[in-house]
Symmetry: C2
């Protein structure tokens, strides 16, 4: 427990790149599942998965969630193959949530391309999302496995969490920056668990479940994914303010421009002192000019919001790593999961 | 099989009104399920279910689908109580599909009220639909029953059908009225099975499954609901042209105004003769004045489209009734199902 992490240099015994190996296992199953859709839907789904462009912008994404499911199955002593339905379901839900969230948030670009609704219209994009969700539920219901019902329950419970998280996220927008109605760190933490923790926890929990782990190990592995998700969200929040636009694909200070109540801001506003006071006054009116946004970013930093968010990420990453070590029986898969943790946080996509 | 229907005057032995009895069983479970949502979502869901208005316009709907599930369970010798999770899931999916379809179709009014997206915005309405779908899957996954996995599979398979049906419906809009690319009766039939048959077939099939029926009886009861759905759609298509606006809540000739490729139109265009030729010419350009719409309706009638749609409905209703008689072991529930069939087609909501 809480050992120094021996992993970043560990040899990847089961193939050169675990992400690549997982993608090779999952992609055919994922494509076969999407092919069950009406050709019009399958075509738009392919765009969302990044399967349609030969070159430029797109790319097929990093398939981090499926890899977490497969490696979790191996970590508890099962086979990656057993977890493929879980990996497929989780990736379908991931893309479903991107497609619908982009409609709700009015986001026009993702991964350097127009979002699905922007490219094809709200109605078709909405329907593609629904179809991916239906497929996700169907993939698990058709798994010929004794734990299929428990797996279906993990997925559907996560879907309820995702919806409630998105509702809370929308509610955040209407709340003030300061005062008794302001978003607290506890509110933020609850949201991060629902929005980001639920899906990653489902990926690792489903992997452990389909890998044949007993209930308490499934719980620990679910916990691993949830902590990783919360850490990931904190890193994402940091990048949303201080990230390099070339790497994130979003404009500089994008989350400040969008007036999002992210962890660094919530933490900074909760601090006492002149920086927090000036920040609250600055946020009181919308700003789009880069000078004001830069000043807000500097104030968040000065008030300690940046450091607190980084510490929050670190703490949850440590927790995630401890969960791996507590649950894993296969050292190779455990090492690759530790690698994944580092990869996810470094790349923060 | 194919006996004269003895049912419309049958005494309702298990309570004065089967619809009311079913509603009393299902509503608390349905409300308890919706209460699991974020308060913002639960409030909008309540609007969609018609629970929020004390008087006027709204009303809580007729709960036909839950009643079909419960009565199907009783018809095969089970209890209505066993089928409550199925009834709840089916009603959640029904309202989900209304909410999302209204967004996709841009429909602004339903049941004499603004649609959810019109009243609260596209984003919130989209999210409520997603949440209802998640709850539907979760209700079945948490059913402590040996057949819960099969039930989850019935539901998820139906959800895939619904998405594919909606995609086909959208594709119909882009197809020409005549020529080799025109919508054929076979195309229409396939769409009706996916769009309307799938949900009602899921209601009756889930009811039979949760009622403890063997596989072949579940298949027959699924078939019953599918045929009923196809008949219902044909009646709905007739009302979309010739229905009384006071009863349907839609403007006169609404489906012609919206240029929908419904059964009477598809059948009329497929006929030979001067009426079909004049109809094709008339449909070639959009019309909104009532005189032209009335002329189109008359031509559809003259070309035999109205009679064919009525015959189509009749034939599928007969098939539905035969399926009830083939599968039912409980005469009271069977009689009430026959009553429901008559009710659904008479009211055609």
């Amino acid at each position: 427990m809480n050992q120094p992490n021996p992993v970043l240099t560990a040899p990847a015994l089961r193939g050169s790149d675990p992400l690549e190996r997982c993608r090779d296992l999952v992609t055919p199953a994922l494509r076969g599942t999407v092919d069950r859709l009406h050709p019009d839907l399958a075509r738009l789904a392919a765009y969302s998965f990044g399967w349609t462009e030969a070159a430029g912008g797109g790319g097929s994404g990093k398939s981090v969630r499926p890899a977490l499911a497969l490696l979790s199955a191996e970590a508890v002593g099962g086979t990656a193959e057993a977890a493929v339905p879980g990996a497929v379901a989780v990736e379908l839900v991931h893309v479903f949530s991107l497609v619908h969230d982009d409609i709700m948030d009015g986001d026009e670009r993702r991964r350097h391309r127009p979002t699905l609704w922007k490219a094809f219209g709200v109605g078709p994009a909405l329907l593609v999302g629904d179809a991916l969700l239906a497929l996700a539920a169907d993939v698990l219901a058709r798994t010929p496995d004794a734990v299929a019902l428990a797996a279906a329950g993990q997925l559907s419970g996560m879907l309820v969490d995702l919806s409630n998280g998105q509702a809370e996220d929308l509610a955040f927008e209407g709340r003030p920056w300061t005062g008794p109605q302001a978003v607290t760190l506890a509110d933020y933490q609850r949201l991060a668990l629902l929005k980001t923790g639920a899906l990653l926890g489902c990926a690792t929990g489903l992997g452990a479940l389909l890998g044949g782990a007993p209930a308490e190990v499934v719980t620990t592995m679910t916990q691993f994914g949830r902590q990783l998700g919360v850490a990931f969200q904190a890193v994402d929040d940091l990048l949303g303010i201080w990230g390099d636009p070339a790497a994130t694909g979003k404009p500089v200070f994008s989350d400040l421009r969008a007036r999002k109540k992210t962890l660094p801001v919530v933490a900074a506003l909760g601090a006492l002192g002149p920086a927090a006071t000036e920040l609250a006054a600055l946020l009181g009116t919308p700003h789009t000019d880069e000078r004001a946004l830069r000043r807000a970013a500097d104030l968040i930093d000065a008030a300690g919001g940046r450091a607190l968010a980084a510490e929050h990420a670190r703490r949850h990453l440590d927790g995630a790593r401890r969960s791996i070590d507590a649950a894993a029986v296969d050292p190779t898969a455990a090492a690759q999961l530790h690698q994944m943790v580092a990869f996810i946080v470094d790349r923060a996509h």
